[in-house]
């Protein structure tokens, strides 16, 4: 009987551990099974990424459709190159879509917003989004404002 109680409590302990792990996976890290489907990779060059980081989200009309996986320097054109993984079911981004780096709230995280163009051809894996708009850097804005003031 003693052994039986022992076994039951050990079983419950292991089960609690597994449940905690599932809780961490689903509730805390927001891992969802449906999202693990296929993705395709799209690149975009930006003059200034201004605080965009890998794992930032990529959105279209505010809906998350992918994430930033890598940011490196394009050594040919000397601008930043952002690698994005777009969910496979979003396959209707036309080749003249534009990508811009936006900020959630005033001081919030940076993310990429994509707005779709009018072309009939669609972006595939490995394509570049040509029309990009860099992050707004506060110092630049202040600089422009001061310059305008002076020139008037």
């Amino acid at each position: 009987m003693r052994m039986r109680i022992l076994e039951i409590s050990v079983g419950a302990f292991i089960l609690a551990g597994i449940l905690a792990l599932i809780g961490l996976a689903l509730n805390v890290s927001g891992l969802s099974m449906s999202n693990a489907g296929d993705t395709y990779t799209v690149y975009a060059r930006f003059e200034n990424i201004g605080g965009l980081t890998p794992r930032s989200k990529v959105t279209m009309s505010g809906v998350t459709i992918g994430k930033v996986t890598n940011i490196d320097l394009d050594t040919d054109q000397l601008v930043a190159r952002v690698t994005m993984e777009i969910n496979g079911d979003v396959d209707f981004l036309s080749i003249d879509s534009s990508a811009s780096i936006l900020t959630a709230g005033l001081l919030g995280e940076k993310y990429i917003g994509i707005s779709v163009g009018a072309e009939e051809e669609y972006l595939g894996s490995g394509d570049y989004i040509e029309d990009t708009q860099s992050a707004l850097v506060l110092e630049d804005l202040v600089g422009k404002f001061l310059f305008n003031e002076v020139s008037e």
Partner: protein, 259 residues
């Protein structure tokens, strides 16, 4: 000259102890494992090492999560970004506090008990008797305890993290009035399963390995007197705490730092 010789001898002693501990590790785990015979013993040790540590882990996890929520709120509310409390609580728990604090508590609660138990077995010559009747004490006594610690610590760390996060959620959502949608959404946006949760668990596994190894070796290697056992128990707690904290820095640098 004598001083120099003493220093050299102390160094050699440490080296010999390290060698002995590696031999114990090898002989009890790798050489000729007997999973079938060991299983009931393992269950028993998981009960002693894991299930009985559950209460202290849950209680400290709850309070650490609540404190994190409270502290994070009072700082972040100045910047008007108190929604980030969930993110802060979850990341600091999953990445750092759950494995480290669990390992420290585990060293104090279970590691010291392991050392004292094995040390007393040695002092009362139970280990020698086992050898006399042809049972290898390394496989009968040491191996199941080792595996139990190895299995239990990641489970305890996962429980610690989840309890702590819910403790933080209670404080910040129910008491401080943060909107619960943004609390969870911020958390889920910033915590990555592969990057944060899995790395935290890897840390816990490493700590479990180190803490149990130190505890078991100190017990097996202690001077078989009451004074020796007390020294060995102290050493277990001190060495495991130091090992956990320094290993944590190394692991963090490898996993999250850009070294």
């Amino acid at each position: 000259m004598d001083r120099l010789a003493l220093l050299g001898r102390a160094g050699l002693d440490k080296l010999a102890a390290f060698g002995r501990s590696s031999m114990i590790l090898f002989q009890s785990l790798i050489a000729k494992p007997q999973p079938v015979m060991m299983f009931p013993l393992l269950i028993q040790q998981i009960y002693f090492v894991g299930v009985l540590s559950l209460v202290i882990i849950v209680v400290s996890g709850l309070f650490i999560g609540m404190v994190l929520g409270l502290q994070g709120y009072t700082i972040l509310v100045d910047y008007g970004s108190e929604q980030a409390v969930g993110q802060m609580v979850a990341l600091s728990l999953v990445r750092e506090l759950a494995p480290v604090v669990t390992a420290l508590l585990f060293a104090g609660r279970a590691g010291s008990a392991l050392t004292a138990e094995i040390g007393l077995m040695k002092a009362t010559e139970q280990l020698s008797s086992l050898e006399m009747i042809g049972v290898d004490p390394l496989r009968r006594i040491i191996a199941p305890r080792f595996w139990a610690g190895f299995i239990c610590l990641p489970i305890l760390a996962a429980i610690f993290a989840i309890v702590g996060i819910y403790g933080g959620a209670i404080v910040s959502i129910d008491w401080l009035g943060i909107y619960d949608g943004s609390f969870w959404a911020n958390m889920q946006n910033s915590v990555d399963f592969g990057e944060d949760v899995v790395n935290g668990l890897i840390k816990a596994i490493v700590f479990g390995f180190v803490v149990t190894w130190i505890a078991v070796f100190q017990g097996y290697d202690c001077i078989p007197t009451s004074e020796g056992i007390s020294q060995a128990t102290t050493k277990t707690v001190v060495y495991s705490s130091l090992a956990v904290l320094s290993l944590d820095f190394i692991l963090t640098a490898v996993m999250f730092g850009e070294l």
